[in-house]
Amino acid sequence: MIEAFRTRLSWQSFGAIFVLFALNAAALVLLFNAIQSQENAATFAQRAEQSVAASARLERLVVDMETGIRGYLLTGKGKFLDPYRKALVLYPAAAGELVQTATTPRAQELASHIQRNIDSYVNDYLRPLLTLSHRAPQRARGGVETNRGRQRVDALRRMFRVFDTSEQRLADQHRADANSSTTTARIITLAALAGVALLCLAMALYLQLRVIRPVNSLAWSAKRVAAGDLGARVHTVDSRNELGEMSISFNEMAEALERNWLAAHQAERVKEEFFALVSHELRTPLSSIVGYVEVLREETEEQPLSPEERQRFLEIVNRNARRLLRLVGDLLFVARLEAGKLDLHQSDLDLSTAASDSVETARPQAERAGLSLRADIAEGLRIHGDADRLGQVMDNLLSNAVKFTPEGGDVGLRLSSSDGRARIEVWDTGIGIPEAEQPHLFERFFRASSATHAAVPGVGLGLSITKAIVESHGGVLSFASAEGRGTTFRVELPLR
């Protein structure tokens, strides 16, 4: 999984988004906590302050009672009792309030303690004193002056102080907490902002580097391919992630496009070459025909032609006309093959005779090329087939043998039979066919490289036509060849 993280963009982007989310969530949680604790602290502080206020109120009531009694006892005036009576009514509630608003259990204890003491002060001291003042005012007056009363009040005062101090301290503490929480919240906010900003910057940079740039590069390469530059390829930065895979796929696609284009172009070129060759092969005999006819027609009295010349020229015209006819025939044959129509004029024919004829036809060509031409023909082999076409097969094979054998070499034709099949072998000691070209030999416009270099006449139709003829007779055409040593073509035909 670590591997996936390091390489895959989908994982990385999810990871980045997750981190962003986590960062935000954490910040918000912390912020929420800070605000909450600030609120809590504020609330607590407020309560403590209320407690202090309640304490102050209660204390005043106690003071009111004390000064009220004293004033009355000292002056005897009734109006001094008013604050006492009022406070007397109010103080229980105030004491209860103090206990309630006390913020901590200890404060509550303290408050209860104060309450009890006040009760005791009132019930055990103040009230009896007042009662006494009705019976013996003098004695009561004296009682007020005593320390006992004073001590009780001081003790109460001390208790109030303790209570107040403790509650005030708590209030202050919580106020401080609230402030610090506020500061914390501020810090968290700023830190989160900074963190998110950095993370976003990092993500943006990463995106730019690892995604935008490769995508742009790919788009540009695609445009170049569209404009015709099929060699354009994309340089993969990291082949392991999704964009890397896309780059690889793109390169494969461009490679395939280039290959197809080249192949198509190659086919185009082969066709162009074929047309050029056909054109040449047609126009050459035509040149002789047109030229010699012109010479024959333009014979004048001043420049007559000798009978030998006339005869010779007519023969040349004739020969070239036949050559032209043969070529046109071949081309039409191929065209018909393409269209799927192959008509053979089947008859009963003497293969041995046809073979001998072919040999003799090839003899002048062989002699001119300085080759020895041998024939080994079994007698009386008859088959059912197209005499012209089969003759064409043997002519073609012999002609090729002669064409591709250098001076001083040998060429031969062997006709034999075995298990109901006739076998024609045309062999030579010529230059042979290179292994690389052997698979293509029967392809329609294929010409061996040696033929093209030597400008051997022919458009490369011969062998494909030969093969078609043999196969349409139910036969098989095969060959064996060694470069530099020679070639043997073999035709097997079913005997009648």
Binding site: S279, T284, L286, S287, I289, G291, V295, Q303, I316
Partner: protein, 129 residues
């Protein structure tokens, strides 16, 4: 045998087709020129260098060296840089003539050609040279 203007100048003719070569040779000798004939590009080049003809008629599609190449090599030799060259072609492809002129040929004829016209062009080129 002679004809108007010809005075036995030597012309090299090269074509791999025997009949066409013989045709040109016949026409030119009849008109009073001498002819040295070759079967391929190499023979043509040798003949031009050895015999120093007044003009060369070359087929383009020949074995060993084609007509263009022979023309180029002939032009490289300062001795023959002015010798008129006429190219014959059986191709109908566009730009054949242009390639020929770029190689240094003076004229260009398509096959099949009229021997009479060929003769006329040869005469004109020799007259101008």
């Amino acid at each position: 045998m002679n004809s108007n203007g010809a005075d036995g100048q030597l012309i090299v003719v090269a074509d791999d087709d025997d009949d066409v070569r013989e045709l040109i040779e016949f026409r030119l000798t009849r008109a009073g020129y001498r002819v040295a004939a070759g079967q391929d590009g190499e023979e043509a080049l040798t003949l031009i260098r050895d015999e120093r003809p007044a003009l060369a008629v070359l087929d383009i599609m020949m074995p060993k060296l084609d007509g263009y190449e022979v023309t180029r090599r002939v032009r490289e030799d300062p001795e023959h840089s002015r010798m008129p060259v006429l190219l014959l072609t059986a191709s109908v492809r566009e730009g054949t003539a242009a390639v020929g002129f770029e190689a240094g040929a003076d004229d260009h004829m398509r096959k099949p050609f009229s021997p009479q016209e060929l003769l006329a062009r040869v005469r004109s080129m020799l007259a101008g040279a």
